[in-house]
């Protein structure tokens, strides 16, 4: 921490070029440290990508870093193999369905409730809101066993539908919290004007709240998408045959070395889509994160 430069940034503009260069040089150890740590942080992700481009024999002989000296060993064959692999492709489709359904449904349900908690008057409203938020505490382990039995009774175990419903319920408390707090910041005048004009609540919700609430909805959508796409536990319990990608990969792990040709590319596919979403919507992601953790 001794290397931290804490000089006022405002003063920088008044400095001559010479002293600015001096300051830069003085910070070199810090820059170097950050470059090294930053690169180290990237190594595992680069590692799995390069592993996914090696044949199992090549991987067992020399690890992914050998491609630096022997780039000719890189091959896309693993990828064409997993996209010909019925188990993997169908699990990818399952994952997409779960993520899309598990994102849209809680947004719709949560937005309706968020609006009610923010702008509608009814008895015990604030108590009810506190209870909804308190449900955030309940670990989903508390629901696995009874829901498994209930799903069995209704015969919907092993369906994408059952997984989406489960994700919706456990996504709701956070969704309601986030959306209600955002909706409440919408200027009151806008709503009152609409009400005086005789707009119904549902019309206000669709025409006013949803468009104005888009930034919060975007944050929520990203969280919910990542959460459902990345889930393993829920799918392990309710999706034994209707398995998403994570479960399909999990089943390959028992023969780690032998199945590396499937494991590495499938894992990379499973992680690259959230990464693309993350980079495309980074701003909303960080906003949602800060809203969730710093109030």
């Amino acid at each position: 921490m001794a290397t931290v430069d804490v000089a006022e940034p405002v003063r920088v503009s008044r400095e001559g070029t010479g002293s600015r260069i001096l300051r830069w040089v003085g910070k070199t150890p810090l820059h170097l440290l950050l470059v090294i740590v930053g690169l180290l942080w990237l190594v595992p992700t680069i590692g799995i990508f390069l592993t996914s481009l090696l044949s199992a024999e090549a991987y067992l002989e020399g690890g992914w870093w050998q491609v630096v000296s022997e780039p000719s060993k890189l091959t896309f064959e693993n990828y064409s193999a997993i996209f010909d692999n019925e188990t993997i492709t169908s699990s990818l489709v399952t994952t997409i369905w779960i993520a899309v359904g598990g994102t849209l449904l809680p947004i719709v349900v949560g937005a309706l409730a968020g609006y009610a908690f923010a702008w509608l008057e009814f008895p015990a409203r604030d108590w009810l809101f506190v209870i909804v938020i308190a449900l955030l505490v309940v670990p989903l382990q508390m629901a696995l066993i009874p829901m498994f039995k209930l799903y069995e009774t209704f015969g919907i175990n092993d369906t994408v539908f059952a997984l989406i419903l489960f994700h919706t319920a456990f996504g709701l408390p956070f969704a309601i919290f986030l959306l209600r707090n955002f909706f409440i910041g919408i200027p009151k005048d806008l709503l009152e004007a609409a009400r005086i004009d005789g707009a119904s609540e549902i019309r206000i919700f669709v025409r006013l709240i949803l468009p104005l609430g888009l930034p919060a909805i975007a944050s929520l959508a990203i969280f919910q998408f990542l959460w459902t796409w990345n889930d393993l536990l829920v799918a392990l319990v309710f999706g034994r045959d209707t398995q998403p990608l994570t479960v399909a990969i999990y089943r390959q792990l028992a023969q780690f070395g032998a199945n590396i040709e499937i494991i590495a590319p499938a894992t990379f596919v499973s992680l690259v889509i959230p990464l693309v979403v993350f980079f495309a919507f980074q701003r909303y992601f960080v906003q949602g994160l800060l809203a969730g953790s710093v109030k």
């Binding site: 804490v6 992700t45 690890g63 009610a116 508390m142 409440i184 994570t246």
Partner: protein, 447 residues
């Protein structure tokens, strides 16, 4: 995700004042319409099963016998479950503090760096990846064979640079003239004088360990005032004479040959040539022992067993920190940015050193944010599952187990004990609740 640190805000004054009873009731009905789907989901998927799980935790495996707290007792008596409890305790003690500390260091270090966005993106990126995929990624990093696992490969590279490995892994003297063991070094039984030629024949050298540049062994000429000799693989297919250099027997290059006084004090050392020959020149008169140093047999690096039962939990924790450090850094950086500049400036004007500014001004102002990160991590750690199941190979999952993993294996694994599984779920719940209540109370006090 981790809504953990969320709190209920004081009631909002949004809705218009009600006018007249009929409008009230109509309004309530509309509100109920908006809330109905939520009540359905929360009631059926969270409240009902939670109550049910709680009840089930007091019943036996079959579910028809009320057994009081027997299931809970089993959490602390069964070996496998007790390991999970202990491991989870380690997670709780180590991870929140480490993640918060690393996040703080990163946030402070990057505060005045112009390209900090690039650094933050690199560190934050794992947050988007699933804990499961991250676990698989780290399992590749952790492979024991230095030819497969990047971490062991890096260690091997450093080790080879500092302490080169030996050329042979094992060998035995071909005659009684040489005594000792590979680990302690092989030495002549009887001392020799300068001018001698010393044959150091070895057997038990496996063919694939003979260096590629090895040539036909030769016994060199005697050197006056020096000691010469050869190290060779004293093995001839079809049989030969032990202790004699024959055709088809190859020299062993790269072997460390040591020259010692008769009482074992080291005088000189050299390495053998491609044909196995070595020479010590200008040796003072006296009697000497010649031997093969133990460095020749230094064990090659076989890799640290990161995924073995002893290191598995620390290994998983490292990969978990890799995921969450970015979260801590981003939240703490936002807290840092919110500290008013003039407060810091005032402290500096008053003559405070940078360390004092950090300790007395920045740190206290940052404390609420640090607490949020710490508590969020505490709750996450109590529920950790995906990363454990993906990093730990099946054979060590008992050693790496944590509560959430134990719950899943108990209820849905081969044993399928729903009573005990329910008890573990309730146990996790009970551990999480006080942490969250603490969080809510703290927020209330601050509000």
């Amino acid at each position: 995700m981790s809504g953990a640190s969320i709190t209920a805000e004081p009631p909002a004054q949004g809705a218009p004042p009600p006018t007249g009873k009929t409008r009230d009731w109509k309004g309530y009905a509309v509100a109920l319409g908006f809330l109905a789907p939520t009540l359905f989901f929360l009631g059926l998927w969270i409240v009902y099963p939670a109550v049910n799980t709680f009840k089930r935790s007091f019943y036996s495996r079959s579910g028809d016998e009320f057994i009081w707290f027997d299931n809970y007792e089993q959490i602390f008596t069964s070996d496998v479950l007790l390991t999970a409890v202990k491991n989870n305790a380690i997670w709780v003690l180590v991870v929140p503090a480490l993640v918060t500390a690393i996040g703080l260091i990163f946030a402070v270090l990057t505060e005045r760096v112009s390209w900090s966005v690039a650094f933050k993106t690199a560190v934050f990126m794992p947050m988007a990846i699933s804990a499961f995929a991250a676990g698989v990624t780290w399992r590749i990093m952790y492979q024991q064979d230095p030819d497969q696992g990047a971490i062991n490969a890096a260690i091997a590279a450093v080790r080879d640079a500092v302490d080169p490995p030996g050329v042979l892994s094992d060998a035995a003297p071909s005659t009684d003239a040489i005594v000792g063991t590979p680990q302690g070094g092989l030495t002549l039984a009887e001392p020799v004088e300068p001018g001698s030629v010393v044959p150091l024949g070895l057997t038990r050298v496996s063919a694939d360990e003979v260096p590629e540049d090895a040539a036909q062994a030769v016994l060199p000429e005697a050197l006056s005032g020096g000691i010469t000799g050869a190290v060779w693989r004293d093995f001839k297919p079809g049989g030969g004479t032990p202790g004699e250099v024959e055709t088809e027997e190859v020299g062993l290059p790269g072997v460390t040959v040591e020259l010692k006084t008769a009482d074992g004090e080291s005088v000189d050392s050299t390495t053998s040539e491609a044909d196995g020959t070595f020479a010590f020149e200008d040796v003072e008169p006296g009697s000497y022992l010649v031997g093969i140093g133990s460095a020749t047999f230094a064990e090659p690096f076989n890799g640290v067993s990161w995924l073995g039962e002893r290191l598995i939990t620390p290994s998983i924790i490292i990969s978990y920190i890799w995921i969450w450090a970015g979260f801590a850094m981003v939240v703490i950086a936002a807290g840092l940015a919110a500290i008013p500049r003039d407060v810091l400036e005032a402290a500096r004007t008053d003559g405070a050193s940078e360390w004092q500014v950090f300790r007395r001004v920045t740190a206290p102002l940052l404390a609420p944010v640090l607490t949020v990160v710490f508590i969020t991590m505490l709750i996450n750690v109590l529920k950790v599952f995906d990363i454990v199941i993906s990093v730990a190979p099946g054979s060590v999952q008992d050693d790496a187990s944590v509560l959430a993993l134990a719950m899943w294996r108990t209820a849905f694994g081969g044993t399928s004990n729903l009573g005990l599984g329910s008890a573990i779920a309730v146990f996790i719940f009970v551990l999480v609740v006080p942490v969250l209540l603490l969080n809510i109370r703290r927020f209330r006090r601050e509000a």
